[in-house]
């Protein structure tokens, strides 16, 4: 018996997966499944029925009038550092005034600034700092959010950050999916000699994280000046041995072989990819690795965007995520990510919607249950003020989400 009925939906975008598959790749991304003037019935936490408006069915359900509205699957933001401590707005302003990397570091900026803030904070303090951001992401339409550690950079503080993510996941409305990213950078105490820190990751952090069930994924920042391909692979092998699945920061700053490694090790997703090579594109496509693009970071750092059109034309599975983080993209709004993907990377509105929903779910291997509006799936949906879906990107820079359904429960502000 339906508990909630979204009725008279002007435009329903289902983003249903193709038969027998759980993602859309290449030219399939343009096909988003648009239905007009329909109702969606929810029973408990699941989508129960989709059909024409005005049948008079489900008379006992709570009714939400969606006339003149567009309904989409809730966004799946599959790459964030949204749980953190501290604030780096002043570093951002200094950079625009022309400060060099050295001057910013001398003023206490950079990733180590966030590391210090995290180390100085309790779990509760991290939860309190991050909660408004997570709730804001939800109000902007994100119903599932991946959240990485990586600002502790020692065993105690990496575990603390993952505990904060777990605590916030219990308290906040959206689902949080935790990723262990001890290999985000090297801590200052191991900057000149990497081995002891890599050993700490492999011998202490990964067993502790996996043993306590604090993360589903292991991620590594693989790039020039960060973790080499060889170091990354050692960490990934250890993570896999402990049952963690793999995702990777790849080819952001240089064409580093990160995409090829992601294909070789069987990562679910490789992310950033601003500098991906053509062999990297082919290797990832052939190994079914999702390409997660983060255009907000390129925008924030004034870098060239990832070659999204080339990736889609070659048949890759492209996802979009915010990369929300204090150093290189302070934006939790997935609608903004879609606008940047379309304006900056020339993705179409349809491709961007697929990338931000079904393919984001594919990047987290949860597309069996979320990422599209199909009978039997979890009822995670966003209701937009616009009558048709192009308006979601066209009218950018403002929040067009007026309500969110999360696990069948209706949230409005």
């Amino acid at each position: 018996m339906a508990t909630l009925l979204l009725e008279n939906i002007s435009t329903l975008v289902t983003v249903a997966a193709p038969p027998g598959r759980l993602r859309r790749s290449g030219s399939e991304m343009a096909d988003i499944g648009v239905l007009r003037d329909v109702d969606v019935a929810v029973e408990g936490e699941a989508i129960d029925w989709i059909g024409p408006a005005g049948t008079g069915r489900f008379p006992d359900a709570e009714r939400i009038d969606c006339r003149g509205r567009t309904v989409l699957p809730g966004f799946v933001d599959s790459h964030t550092h949204i749980v953190h401590a501290g604030d780096r707005a002043h570093e951002f302003a200094m950079r625009l005034r022309g400060a060099t990397y050295q001057e910013i570091a001398a003023a206490g900026g950079g990733i180590l600034s966030t590391m210090r803030s995290v180390r100085e904070s309790s779990v509760d303090e991290i939860v309190e700092r991050s909660r408004p951001l997570v709730e804001s992401a939800f109000r902007h339409g994100s119903t599932t959010i991946e959240a990485k550690s990586g600002y502790g950079l020692d065993t105690e503080n990496e575990l603390k950050l993952l505990e904060a993510i777990a605590r916030l996941g219990e308290a906040a409305a959206p689902t949080l999916i935790p990723t262990f990213l001890g290999a985000h950078d090297f801590p200052p105490e191991h900057r000149s000699d990497h081995e002891p820190y890599i050993a700490e990751i492999i011998d202490r952090m990964i067993p502790a994280v996996a043993g306590r069930g604090l993360a589903q994924f292991c991620d590594v920042f693989s790039d020039t000046g960060y973790y080499t391909v060889e170091e990354s692979e050692r960490i990934f092998r250890a993570a896999r041995d402990h049952g963690l699945r793999l995702r990777v920061h790849a080819d952001e700053l240089s064409s580093f072989g990160g995409a090829e490694m992601a294909a070789r090790i069987g990562a679910l997703s490789a992310d950033h990819l601003l500098m991906i090579s053509d062999p990297g594109i082919e290797a990832m496509r052939d190994a079914d690795v999702v390409a997660t693009l983060l255009p907000g970071t390129a925008f924030f750092l004034n870098l060239p965007y990832a070659p999204a059109r080339r990736m889609i034309e070659r048949g890759m599975t492209v996802a979009l995520a915010t990369d929300c983080n204090p150093g290189s993209n302070m934006c939790e709004n997935m609608q903004m990510t879609l606008a940047l993907a379309c304006m900056g990377m020339r993705m179409t509105v349809e491709e961007a919607i697929t990338a931000a929903t079904l393919n984001g779910a594919a990047a987290l291997d949860i597309a069996e249950t979320v990422g599209s509006i199909e009978v039997g799936k979890v009822a995670d949906m966003a209701i937009f003020t616009t009558a048709d879906y192009p308006g979601i990107v066209y009218h950018y820079g403002v929040n067009q989400v007026m309500a969110v359904i999360k696990r069948g429960r209706f949230h409005r502000w």
Copy 2:
């Protein structure tokens, strides 16, 4: 006797004008006047007192606690087409899918699509369509908004649009400042022969607009394929003879001599300027013409940004505005304009704030009364959730305005 007290303001950005002047040019734009831990008292519609927090003065005023907040002058959005009819989201989506200009025109798109919508709408219908956008701009911090005609393209419909702007100005919270832009494009009935339409502008529209007091300014779209410099100057002379002041769409699509013309005719502002020449920069600077930059339009159309750094380095007075319009930038949020100015044009946070407040007021010649927080000026202010001003740009893509004071009246949502 103060009626309203903003107390314990963590960061007050006054953007006070330099002594004896009503704008900030070149390197002066970096100096925004930051005060910490202060109160601002309002009496009626005006700012009455600015001083240290905690004096216990004004015990009878309504008190707004601004601890942990930043207060700025309300944004002055000095270039918009926010009052219009119709919707062009589908044209936007088509363009991203690779449609040509001809295909979009054949599908009924382009500026003539908005013209048809306006011609088919009543004054009331235009007001109803535009009002949510104007109110949204206000909720995002704009307390003064310039609004242009230019979608009627005949005497009857240009006057209708200006009447809608006047009606909305009475009904909506922000101040609307009307500009006559009959020379926005040529209507289809005069596309091959411009003279009759230019004669209609000069002989019928301008006298009617000025006679009925429906606009303060006259604007012309001066560019390749639109109005030539010679045609523009004829229209501007007629406008000036009828007491209208001048502003111009210049050098958006080509280096057309629009900036030089703006200097020659004594325009208050020349706007867009993506393709401005070095002699154009010098001519505008020497004639004190404000350079109003519209980075949202470059972003929306994927064009190169205007050379803001060069302009500021050469001492120009730079303003920022949204250009909110249905064809080339559907965004009414000035915070987004600031983010695009900083990320895309490499303006500093300080320069962007000056450009969006005091210099926007200078572009409309109202800086004597609005655009900065100074005793005696109109109490138009925006309160932001962030404790310090860099956060306004750093944390972009979301609305950080939590309340607006307009003519001394407090608005919160």
